[in-house]
């Protein structure tokens, strides 16, 4: 389930859903009407949204949902000890969250690049969902599960799992079944 939280990059969600379906070989659906208000997660002193708070709201809202839940927002996210995060996920849990705020080239003073933006969004979506399946960060720089703390690192890695992570994903998913 993909849950956009306003302001979400709606024009790119189609591409993200398509890719997630192919990558995880699972049905993916978009849920627009969820009633989650990001305002309580807003920290005025940082002008950012507390991602763990949003994850908690997702869990509360979709407590009966059996599958994985990925929220996508255009808000800038943080956890208190870090200046920002691209996203956050429950390791081996149900929910994940991705921010598109810092994936936009315009944030870095560059001209808009929609294709690059969507590629980055897909990579981060796959990465955070990978955590919900129990995958941890991978040492291979081209694996989508490689840790990225800067947007350049997102660009370096691919949209795909490396064979090792792919194998782990399969065995972890099978173990759940």
């Amino acid at each position: 389930m993909v849950v956009p939280i306003a302001p979400a990059p709606l024009e790119h969600l189609g591409g993200v859903l398509k890719h997630l379906g192919e990558r995880f070989r699972l049905p993916v659906r978009l849920v627009m009407d969820h009633g989650i208000d990001p305002a309580p997660a807003y920290d005025a002193s940082r002008n950012q949204y507390y991602s763990s708070f949003l994850l908690a709201a997702l869990l509360a809202t979709f407590s009966h949902h059996q599958g994985k839940i990925l929220a996508i927002t255009g808000n800038d996210l943080f956890v208190p000890v870090l200046t920002y995060v691209f996203g956050e996920a429950q390791l081996d849990g149900a929910v994940a969250l991705v921010s598109s705020f810092r994936l936009d080239e315009r944030f870095y003073g560059m001209p808009e690049n929609k294709m690059l933006f969507e590629q980055r969004l897909i990579k981060e979506a796959v990465h955070e969902l990978g955590h919900t399946f129990g995958l941890i960060h991978c040492r291979r720089f081209d694996c989508v599960m490689h840790s990225s703390t800067a947007v350049e690192e997102i660009d370096v890695k691919s949209e795909n799992f490396c064979p090792e992570c792919e194998g782990q994903l399969q065995s972890l998913a099978l173990a759940k079944v």
């Binding site: 940082r46 763990s52 943080f78 956890v79 208190p80 000890v81 870090l82 200046t83 920002y84 995060v85 956050e88 996920a89 390791l91 955590h131 941890i136 960060h137 991978c138 040492r139 490689h146 840790s147 703390t149 800067a150």
Partner: protein, 449 residues
């Protein structure tokens, strides 16, 4: 660094959100991560360690992060600690760095910076651990020849040496020539914190008085005829390590004054130089002379004696620990069997009996020389009585009609023969200086074969 399951991180912070977000962050990187909310919890968690990296909040209720850092270091000196601080307490972070913290981060921290910081900290930790392992390996490689001896007196000597090694105390080693004083000095050195720096031996009795000053303190170019280049002295070379002053009882009164000064001040000037040179060295000295008598007789300065004789170790002569002779014999047989590639592996019981009964005036060094010689002559697989030097098989009674000179001649000749005409060794055994020995060689017309 991700998916490194061996690396572990402990987060100590009183704020739940910080603990929660950091543990989640690090677990996604594959680290074993736990969190502690305060100092007492952190101290308990140390029992679940060792932790490769500890992230420690500076400001916590109760014991502060700075105080906790000290306690944690007491428990695990090698822990890599990174302080977490708010902007306002950078001064505290600097204090923490001075007290050995690896680094500090201010909240909120840039994730990229934190990621690299953790990787660097772990890399340093792994290098440090590897360094310790290599040093342990190196310690084995640089260990001196094994101290052989299972007799109670030797066990006591080794125990004393290893005990005093842990301190920086000046040590005086006493014992007859050939008992292994330098071996004990090396044992002390390699068991001390100075083991990775050199041990510099100086045989004060073997260096002519005129050169000893230069030998010990070095000299500047042109400071005397023949001094074409600047040269570092033994004290300078021993910086960080140990200087072993053998035959300390032989040095002149003038040199005694200089030695006292350098030992007290740990600084000196090279011969012909003006610059004060500082050196951090430990002093171990050795003598086979009765220094107390020399002090009473005025030949050795009392103040220097007390400065050197802080901790004394006396090595018993071999004749007082005859039970060690078979063990030493076997050790030397094995040593020379390997060196000579000769399959001699044992000592005939009759020959061994001769060795045990012999008084060994030259002590272990003499025994080693005897075994080395016998190994050359022996037919494998064992050393027979005939392979031993003639004097071992004979009674040591002195011919009744010989004059004192004749007896002295015979004895000097015997010792020279036994030491292979090594003048220093022979002089040692005879307990005379080299000049006297040369005089006696000339007097009796002895010639090297």
């Amino acid at each position: 660094m991700a998916r490194n399951h061996k690396s572990s991180i402990l987060v100590v912070d009183d704020e739940f959100v910080v603990r929660d977000s950091l543990t989640k962050w690090f677990r996604q990187d594959g680290y074993r991560t736990e969190a502690a909310q305060d100092a007492s919890c952190a101290l308990r968690m140390m029992g679940q360690g060792p932790w490769d990296v500890i992230l420690l909040d500076i400001k916590m209720p109760g014991m502060s992060g700075l105080d906790l850092q000290k306690r944690l270091r007491e428990i695990d000196h090698s822990a890599t600690i990174i302080m977490i601080t708010a902007f306002a307490s950078v001064e505290s972070a600097v204090q923490a760095l001075k007290e050995g913290a690896f680094d500090y981060v201010t909240k909120p921290v840039d994730p990229d910076h934190l990621s690299h910081l953790i990787q660097n900290a772990l890399q340093q930790k792994h290098l440090s651990d590897e360094n310790v392992r290599l040093r342990e390996h190196l310690t084995n490689l640089i260990s001196p020849d094994e101290l052989i001896g299972d007799s109670p007196p030797m066990r006591k000597v080794v125990e004393l040496a290893k005990t005093v090694a842990q301190t920086d105390t000046t040590v005086m080693i006493r014992g007859e020539s050939g008992t292994g004083k330098e071996l004990i000095a090396r044992t002390i050195h390699v068991n001390s914190n100075r083991q990775y720096f050199p041990i510099v031996p100086v045989n004060c009795g073997a260096v002519p008085e005129s050169l000893l000053e230069s030998e010990l303190f070095g000299h500047e170019k042109g400071s005397f005829t023949g001094a074409q280049y600047k040269r570092k002295g033994k004290f300078e070379m021993a910086d960080g390590g140990t200087i072993f002053l053998d035959e300390i009882g032989t040095i002149s009164p003038k040199m005694q004054v200089q030695l006292l000064r350098v030992i007290e001040g740990r600084q000196f000037t090279r011969v012909g130089g003006n610059d004060q040179i500082k050196s951090d060295f430990r002093v171990i000295c050795a003598t086979n002379r009765d220094l107390e008598a020399a002090v009473k007789g005025g030949a050795f300065r009392e103040d220097l004696y007390y400065r050197l004789n802080v901790f004394s170790i006396s090595i018993p002569p071999l004749r007082e620990r005859r039970s060690d002779v078979p063990l030493l014999t076997q050790h030397f047989i094995k040593k020379y069997s390997t060196a000579m590639n000769k399959p001699v592996t044992e000592m005939d019981p009759t020959a061994l009996d001769l060795l045990v009964k012999y008084p060994w005036p030259g002590n272990v060094r003499e025994l080693e020389n005897v075994i080395e010689r016998a190994m050359v002559l022996a037919n494998p697989p064992s050393i027979k009585p005939d392979d031993l030097p003639f004097q071992l098989g004979q009674s040591h009674s002195v011919p009744a009609n010989d004059t004192l000179d004749a007896i002295e001649r015979m004895h000097v000749e015997t010792i020279l023969h036994r030491t292979g005409w090594n003048i220093t060794r022979a002089a040692d055994i005879l307990d005379i200086d080299r000049v006297t020995l040369y005089n006696k060689i000339a007097k009796y017309g002895l010639k090297k074969p």
